[in-house]
């Protein structure tokens, strides 16, 4: 697997982590303070951002390698 492929895997894992962290912030008893609610919302947005970045990266790097 090339760095291109591994980066796509990595971004996918990061997006899933961000999504999971967002859910954790809203549901876990460990995340009781209001700051965690904000962090959770930011993490959800980051998950969406990472997915968009992943698609953009794949398209761009494929163009460069052509």
């Amino acid at each position: 697997m090339s760095l291109k492929g591994f980066h796509v895997v990595f971004v996918t894992a990061s997006a899933l982590l961000a999504l999971g962290f967002g859910v954790w912030c809203f549901t876990s008893p460990l995340a009781s303070s209001a700051g965690y609610r904000v962090a959770g919302a930011v993490a959800m947005l980051a998950a969406i951002g990472l997915v968009i970045y992943g698609f953009a990266f794949y398209r761009k790097i494929s163009e460069i390698q052509r």
Partner: protein
């Protein structure tokens, strides 16, 4: 007489990979087994202990103070001495002696979250550096590669403060199975980050001379180093939820 080493920049016909890429993937496979053993240990120890024993240590092991709130550290130590002297530490937790502290790693979650962001960003800069070389822009490569190394140092500094916080509150590897594995796995990861800094530093400094003599081979080296760095970051992507978020 010089011997030319084949398959440095062109893939081998039998594996479809260059020598460097094949080598790094074999190395990463061994790393998966190394970290996999510790992840398995974590699952085994967690399943085989009660939560209090796993997180806070066996009854009778004294923990200096509550790691939850620095400002109340003395007060908590007093509580632990007066109310629970010689008693199970888990009982102290169950009776609210730790004010809702569910795990010794709980106070580290904000720092670990910050470090996660730092490492994800560093993987992006690694790829940007590699893409810059594909576009023959060496100046841009140096910028992104330097930022990657800076991110790695930021990670280490935050980790240093995280460890100091643990030690200051009497949390050591011997304290409990959770903390034993926490220190073992995170320090092993720290060693890998330091290794990455050394390799990436070489490629930014003396190793970068190759760009002038053999740019294709240098780009290949950067890709291989990038694969290693992605692996180091991917390990953290697994460590963060398992050690911090699910430890409560």
């Amino acid at each position: 007489m010089s011997v030319e080493i084949p398959y440095i920049t062109k893939p081998r016909p039998d594996t479809g990979l260059t020598n460097g890429k094949l080598g790094v993937w074999l190395f990463l496979a061994s790393e998966v087994m190394l970290f996999g053993a510790f992840f398995s240990s974590y699952a085994y120890l967690r399943a085989g202990n009660t939560w209090d024993d796993f997180a806070f240590g066996r009854p009778g092991i004294e923990i200096a103070a509550d790691a939850h709130a620095d400002e109340h550290a003395d007060e908590h130590a007093e509580h632990a001495t007066d109310d629970h002297h010689g008693d199970a530490h888990g009982e102290a937790t169950a009776h609210g002696g730790h004010e809702g502290l569910s795990t010794p790693l709980q106070p580290s979650i904000p720092m670990a979250t910050f470090n996660t962001i730092v490492l994800i960003a560093s993987s992006v800069t690694v790829v940007l550096a590699w893409a810059s070389l594909l576009l023959k822009n060496f100046g841009r490569f140096r910028l992104y590669w330097g930022i990657t190394i800076a991110f790695a140092f930021v990670f280490l500094v935050v980790k240093y403060f995280e460890y100091c916080g643990k030690f200051a509150h009497g949390f050591y590897p011997k304290t409990s199975p959770l903390l034993g594995l926490y220190f073992l796995m995170t320090f092993l990861h720290v060693i890998h980050v330091i290794g990455g800094i050394i390799v990436n530093g070489y490629l930014l400094g003396p190793g970068s001379k190759m760009w002038k003599t053999d740019p294709e081979r240098f780009t290949q080296r950067i890709e291989v180093a990038g694969l290693y760095w992605h692996f180091v970051d991917l390990v953290w992507i697994f460590l963060f939820p398992i050690l911090y978020l699910l430890s409560g």
